[in-house]
């Protein structure tokens, strides 16, 4: 995303050049690298939130109505011990009402049914997997408990994927730097080709290497700065848009902007690599004996 402007300009230039397949390959690889990095970043963010959601997954228990008092007092004890955030208990009447979408059931008919139907409780233990598992173990052993449901295995899988993703992200960051360098290199190389005669004549009439290097490096430097600024601006816009879209009920997912220190680091990296890329592109010019 941070190089959209440069990519477009370069693509337009490539369209006008022949015999530049190798540069086209670099161009394609760069786009792939950028896409992969974007996809990985999105996945990483997605996994983070998925973990939060699943960690916040409710423990659903059902019990026989006969044991209602015992289970309720047990839940009260557990609430303090395991820092349970929320316990929502649904009586059979309430559960039926939810199932029947608020319709009132006839009292006589329902009374028998209520005796058969179990009580349900939803226990939320935000981002504390171990507590949730401990509660599960305790409640399982209690008489009258019919079902205790928790899907902790999902959390573990996501955790392992997430930890592996960090390595992928580090590699991706380097790929991103490489891609920006390659992009600036090929961009400067095409620029050099398009200005080959001018550069040749400049050398013929006595231009020093510095005289030729400065405009090219400056262009790499400025394109790095502008592209990074453009990329960060776009990211900010997208973050705002996604928050507007996702940070509403019932999803409540808040996406945070990258910290400013990361932004500075990435910008500096891209600018540095851009300058190196433009210098490498122009380097062969100084080896010729003009």
């Amino acid at each position: 995303m941070s190089y959209t402007a440069c990519l477009f300009e370069q693509f337009m230039m490539l369209m006008n050049q022949k015999k530049l397949q190798h540069l086209f390959l670099i161009f394609v690889l760069t786009i792939i690298c950028l896409l992969v990095s974007i996809i990985l970043l999105i996945h990483y963010n997605g996994l983070n939130y998925l973990k939060k959601i699943t960690a916040n997954e409710t423990l659903i228990i059902t019990w026989d109505s006969k044991y209602n008092k015992e289970i309720k007092s047990e839940l009260d004890k557990l609430k303090d011990k395991y820092k349970i955030q929320q316990i929502k208990i649904f009586s059979p009447q309430k559960a039926l009402s939810i199932l029947m979408k608020g319709e009132q059931l006839p009292k006589n008919d329902s009374s028998k049914m209520y005796q058969i139907l179990p009580y349900t409780a939803i226990i939320s233990c935000r981002e504390n997997k171990n507590n949730l598992l401990a509660i599960k173990d305790i409640l399982k052993k209690k008489p009258g408990i019919k079902r205790v449901i928790i899907d902790a295995s999902k959390i573990e899988i996501i955790d392992s994927i997430r930890s592996n993703y960090i390595y992928f992200l580090i590699i991706t960051l380097f790929l991103l730097f490489f891609a920006s360098g390659a992009l600036t290199f090929s961009y400067s190389y095409i620029l050099k080709l398009s200005r080959a005669k001018e550069l040749y004549i400049l050398k013929l009439v006595g231009a020093s290497n510095t005289f030729i290097i400065i405009p090219f490096t400056l262009k790499g430097f400025l394109s790095g700065i502008l592209a990074s600024a453009f990329g960060l601006f776009m990211t900010k816009i997208i973050v705002l848009y996604l928050n507007k879209l996702l940070n509403t009920p019932p999803i409540w997912i808040k996406i945070d902007m990258i910290p400013i220190s990361y932004c500075v680091f990435i910008t500096m990296g891209i600018v540095f690599i851009s300058c190196i890329g433009s210098l490498l592109a122009i380097n062969p010019l100084f080896k010729k004996g003009v």
């Binding site: 001018e198 004549i201 009439v205 006595g206 005289f211």
Partner: protein
């Protein structure tokens, strides 16, 4: 009038260009062989020879565009050899070249083309403008000063190339067939311009086929290259 070959030490001391045992090969093809000469300061040299005799190669060696296969060339205070390469940006302030195919930038205007070496030398904009105005007047290019070079005639292009070459007041001016593309009238005009600069102390070496141009210059030196060697024609 100074003569050229190195036998005379007085002449060698006055020489602005000194060539010692110069050899040049393109692959196995022999182009120049054992050249020894000294060109005095302020002389006007005509270099003749058949096509492919090595005139342009010799000029390119003097301009440090080509490194000789063997031997040494001293141009002013710069030494050019197979492994010796002068600092080009300093060297070219001293030696400029006019090309047969002009080597000017088509999409640049006349003024911009003349300005290139001055910009390279870091001359201030005010001084650049002053010099350009003088050159435009001397070479009668005032009317086309803002015209892109692609729209110029052959004679005008040649004058732009000359203006660019002399804009930095070089001590040595090399010209490779400067009148090759021009009619006789324009060729005479160009030679008069070069002669004018020669009178002001610039050493000029012109590679040409048209030896009749010699008559337009005072005290010219005529060198010819044949069979890879150089000789003076008196």
């Amino acid at each position: 009038m100074a003569r050229l070959f190195k036998n005379n030490s007085m002449e060698a001391a006055n020489a602005i260009i000194e060539v010692n045992n110069l050899y040049h090969y393109f692959g196995k093809k022999k182009i120049l062989e054992k050249l020894n000469l000294a060109i005095p300061k302020g002389s006007f040299v005509f270099l003749t020879g058949s096509t492919g005799s090595g005139k342009s190669t010799f000029l390119k060696i003097l301009h440090a565009e080509l490194a000789p296969t063997a031997g040494l060339v001293r141009v002013e205070n710069f030494v050019i050899g197979p492994k010796n390469k002068p600092k080009i940006h300093l060297f070219r302030r001293c030696v400029q070249m006019i090309y047969q195919d002009f080597e000017i930038l088509d999409d640049y205007s006349v003024k911009q083309n003349i300005e290139i070496p001055l910009r390279c030398m870091g001359i201030s904009k005010k001084n650049r403008q002053k010099r350009i105005e003088v050159l435009l007047k001397v070479l009668e290019l005032e009317e086309v000063k803002d015209t892109p070079s692609i729209f110029l005639s052959g004679g005008e292009k040649q004058r732009v190339a000359i203006a660019r070459a002399i804009s930095t007041s070089p001590k040595i001016l090399l010209a490779d067939e400067p009148t090759g593309n021009l009619d006789k009238r324009m060729a005479k005009r160009i030679m008069k311009i070069l002669s004018h600069f020669n009178k002001h102390g610039t050493t000029i070496i012109v590679a040409t086929h048209s030896i009749e141009l010699k008559s337009l210059v005072e005290n010219p030196i005529h060198l010819t290259i044949s069979d890879s060697t150089i000789q003076e024609i008196k």
